[in-house]
Symmetry: D2
Subunit: 400 residues, 4 copies
């Protein structure tokens, strides 16, 4: 009986070749195809895996689990790697790994194969997640191992009757899920060249977006959006809906040169319409519902968690603790945010909450003022005391 | 001979009343009016100060010093309080204080008076800066001290023939300089109400901005912009120019509920067209010219320095050290950034530098690839080792 | 009927005078005396409060609650303000405030009075904690309010038949609880003078400690010590016991010039024998049970929480979140630590845990080595890649 | 003509075998032996290198450079990895690399070989430093490459007449320089076993230290110690002297399980008598000469720099910036520290400075008090305002 390997199968050329290659190496291949909201035709993929020679093919729709257990943290934690990238692919890798490990455990496979190359982040994310989930499973990286050029790979495919993709000359390398779309390669490798329009799929160019602005009201409960213009939606529905609406208005394009875990800089073009709207609204709601000390410290947690996830360390004791911290800050992040969408802009027009810490009586300069202005004298006296002592000692900055 | 007090004189009602009030208290008032790029008619202000009874009135144009010594750090340090506010007023306060202290030292004044109320940040910034510059000078805060309602103040003004401003019913409280414009009060005190158009002055609404996008190329040397579309400009010219161009395109509106130093949340509307363009371009240039470890640690410095400045601690040993750190990171932040302005959007279309650390040969997926993909195997082995050890001990996350 | 005020009553001169002073101001005084492990004679204090004129006197032993809910975090979080001070008084203030508020709520008092002066941290801690617990209660600070010199206070006491303390000329100001003892004032105000022996009470001088070292084994469960030399103890018993044992061996003296919340530096002498032993042992156990990323990030949390507590912000949303983070890291901090006590030294001689992440097979240089040394080549290649790219660009440091 | 390789030659078995092994591989070996204060007999080493077959042997005494340019930062920056390890070996690696690169450039060598194994930090430090210094030089790691067991290595040595060390059965692996001594392996690999006395060389056991305490006064200028008991010393002399004096008193033993860069935990025993005395004294002096905000932020810099150095990134733009920050904080760290050494204890008995920010008039509770206690009322009002607003909204913690 042959050893089994579970292969993360996408239906594309790399993983189709990998099925054949692994069989040649003497393994039984259990294909596994996951949907995390990218809207692939899974029946086609299923059939193709079997056609390639896989002994089984598992199709798993993990979209709900993705939004509930992973994307929800990107919202509550305002997660953005390098203050820019809302962790589209990075967020899905741990979930995909989890599903692959479940299949591997069920089918008594000896390991898991992925289709990543040897220079990206995803190989690390998959392999480290697999170690974290089940250290007895081995990781296989056929694409990295065979090390072929594109041409050599196509030759191998032709030789073994592996169907080539129709648009084999797409210049881009794309990864997509519910939370967004990542694009790299081709012309994008020149960071001084503007991304051409064909690099985008989910968003209109701002110039092509409607001439009329659209205002929406998003209602959050405990840090997560639950209704739009008073219409209740699941988080998955909300994101799918906002991807369309905000994408139509040209919202959500990101063009970033980022520092990969593997030591190189790469130019990435992302489209994250729903993410941009929801994160913008969420931050706005936090400005009135978090105390100042939480508002000033939570970013330290957010930065750390973003880096953990980017680096493939979702399943780790540190991430577990960071999640608890973030959850605990969201109890009162409940309320409404008015958001205007217009030709690429997401503008917060207003935010309100039953738990608002904004106090008009304290903030106002009208006669309703409840702030004790005399207290400021004592405050400045003490707040400025270290400055004063230092200045008395050294003679003051005007003296330098 | 009477004791002299230097008064930061704006020409507005508060400081005009303050001249009279200080004279009544028995002081000679030395008015001092500073221009930090807000474009006031200083001759008018000068005359008005003398009319009010000031014994002297000093007019100081500190715009160049403001851009060179203060705004330059907001650029090099990407400074934004709470990741949002580019420190418009907060940046000018230390410079204004410095000039006031210089006048006070020259005129042998016993102290300095400012026109701030008792509930804002600026009173703290002025008074702490004065302590830092010359601890022998006393601070006076007439507006905070008299504690009048608007009506009482107007009554006092009428009684003492102090001219009332023509548009005394402007609902807003505004502070402006070269780096931007801050607006609060009135309808803005309701954080769920969208700011009305009359709250803005430097920017078009995106809807009213030109239908044609405009691309500009900004060239930076060591972290600061030095030319625009190949035309050399001083930093002051650059900012003035970009305020107009970007403002025209609807760029630079900020609507934020922020945590003041004095313990309250307040809703602020800022307009910072040039700041938004320059900071966006600067960050983009840093993505290709800073090493990863600098790129990941500098934000810690930036956050700390932003808070120092916001809290009035520009003149302090910590700020001095933070400035050195920031300066030292900018040596190679030289190059061009292509920026597109369009109806509220600032889009970076490209970035290049003679010192780029982006290496196409390492990043590419073409046959020119110079990256050693086999190294990834060893990297993952060691990078994932703590995960593996933890997982072996506790049985793995899939086991929970 | 008179308004009631709850007074934190210690039995000392300040609070005895305060009883009288508050009665003179027209209030009924409800005295409240708390024991947090300092070992005061509470019957005497109770009677004295009534003798002074208090309408009621509540005696509360809060020692268990102190160790369980407060000191436990100082252990799990290795809490030390400025990396030095294990938060002796700062930790007790929130609990004392909580008990005072409970009494105030039960007795329908309008507010709470404490005996702190106007220049220490404790006034802030009490008043902010009271705001946090019940914002409707007013805070009173008689000692700060009357502003008397020592002589004036004694005169007032004599005039009103308030008994003076027998040793009224003790030069020190002392606060003590189960977790340690704080001492300031007198000769200690000269930071170049060594603290004289009479400044210490809980510890022998190392010179006077036994000539024989003593090794103890402390067993921790989930971050807290539960047995000593195989003898189970409650946390309270453990601390009381270790204060004696370690104090005997001269362990736990701290001499620190610290930055107070109110802007001044003050020289403090602490004695914390049990704290030093337990924190040292706890840290040692964490070195083998925490993953590297937790071990490197937890100190950020610890520093923040130490500052929160020092600054009187125990009751706050941020502290709640920090507590959750810390708790979540302690699940596997279980095991034994061998600690040697000898003339002022606490030496960890060994640490072991069923959950140890230290792996002798990976660490060893013997033939049992399980570490894959070849992986290092790939690791260094990728880990060093940003350095290499930077060096190739700029010519290398040897070139400068 | 053969390619040349510069070999970091210690005179020990590993590098002696490496000479032979590299010659067998067809290279000319340029031996290079550095002294960074460990006190080796360099003449013997020099001769031995030539005997082994090296074409040249360079002997370099880099002790002064080590203390001036490297150790000085460990002092000014209070550098300790994981708050424990004063970076003994980690600090010397960049300097040794620098000297090796200089020799390689002078002799036109193609690369540099070191004697490290494949599981430690030092291989990474050397190879990354070499990349940073001169990216054209190749790194060679014979010991890692040959991958022999101890027995195989000895067999090879015997076969090729390479003299075996007399005490070939020393169970420990030791690295030493002026700043301390690191010891690992053997019985130390059991982290529950106390290190035996033969693991130590620089320090007496506290039990064997003199019964009389010794007080010394160290004078610092701008963060560095310059005289001891009024006797001027160079930094090198100071450290050599204190290693003896403090070592005699049993000071400077560290027993730590640390997280290596390469993903494993290892148990290390360090002896750093001078380091412990100087760092303790330096910290004490900083408590009175740094402002509170510097004192609270500098540790963030220190932690980052310690990790950079530990990870072999001394030569990097981030380290350059961190050094500038640290230097800039030391301008006023000038003064005297009284330190008592006694049986393993380093006790600070006093600290004074012409630039002390400790102000007895502000700190005192006597009638000389210059602190404005009334200011506290306003301070607490404003400092406590966020707490109060939060508490009013949510009903207060006593209500939960």
């Amino acid at each position: 009986m042959k050893d089994k390997i579970v292969l993360a199968y996408s239906g594309g050329l790399d993983t189709s070749v990998a099925v054949h290659w692994l069989i040649e190496k003497g393994y039984d291949v259990v294909a596994c195809c996951l949907d995390v909201g990218e809207g692939k035709d899974l029946d086609v993929v299923h059939q193709k895996a079997l056609d390639m020679g896989a002994v089984e093919c598992h199709i798993i729709d993990a979209t709900e689990e993705f939004t509930e257990d992973y994307v929800s943290y990107a919202i509550k934690g305002n997660l953005q790697y390098e203050n820019t990238y809302p962790l589209v692919s990075a967020l899905s890798r741990p979930l995909i790994s989890k599903k692959l490990v479940e299949i591997a455990e069920k089918t008594n496979a000896i390991g898991i194969a992925h289709g990543c190359t040897g220079k990206g982040n995803d190989q690390v994310r998959f392999e480290v997640a697999i170690k974290a989930l089940n250290p007895n499973l081995k990781a296989f990286a056929p694409v990295r191992e065979w090390g072929w050029s594109r041409e050599e790979e196509i030759e191998y495919a032709k030789k073994h009757d592996i169907p080539l993709p129709i648009e084999q000359d797409s210049p881009y390398s794309i990864d997509q899920n519910l939370w967004g779309r990542a694009n790299e390669c081709g012309i994008l490798e020149d960071p001084y060249a503007a991304p051409p329009e064909d690099a985008f799929d989910l968003t209109n160019a701002p110039e092509d977006a409607p001439d009329e602005a659209e205002e929406i009201v998003i209602h959050f409960e405990e840090g997560l959006p639950v209704s739009l213009n008073d219409k209740k939606m699941s988080l998955t529905e909300m994101i799918l809906h906002l991807n369309k609406v905000a994408g139509k208005h040209g919202v959500g394009r990101i063009d970033h040169v980022e520092n990969r875990l593997v030591g190189i800089k790469s130019r990435e073009v992302y489209e994250t319409p729903a993410a941009e709207v929801i994160q913008t609204a969420h931050r706005a709601l936090e400005t009135i519902t978090l105390t100042k000390d939480v508002a000033h410290f939570k970013p330290v947690i957010e930065k750390q968690f973003s880096e953990q996830i980017y680096n493939g360390l979702w399943f780790s004791p540190l991430s577990d603790s960071l999640k608890l911290f973030i959850d605990s800050t969201q109890t009162y992040v409940t309320g409404d945010v008015r958001v205007k969408l217009y030709k690429g802009n997401v503008t917060v027009n207003g935010r309100q909450s039953p738990y608002t810490l904004y106090n008009e009586k304290l903030a106002t300069y009208t006669k309703d003022d409840a702030f004790n202005q005399e207290a400021a004298v004592g405050f400045i006296d003490i707040f400025g005391l270290p400055t004063q002592v230092n200045s008395m000692l050294h003679g003051g900055y005007s003296n330098e």
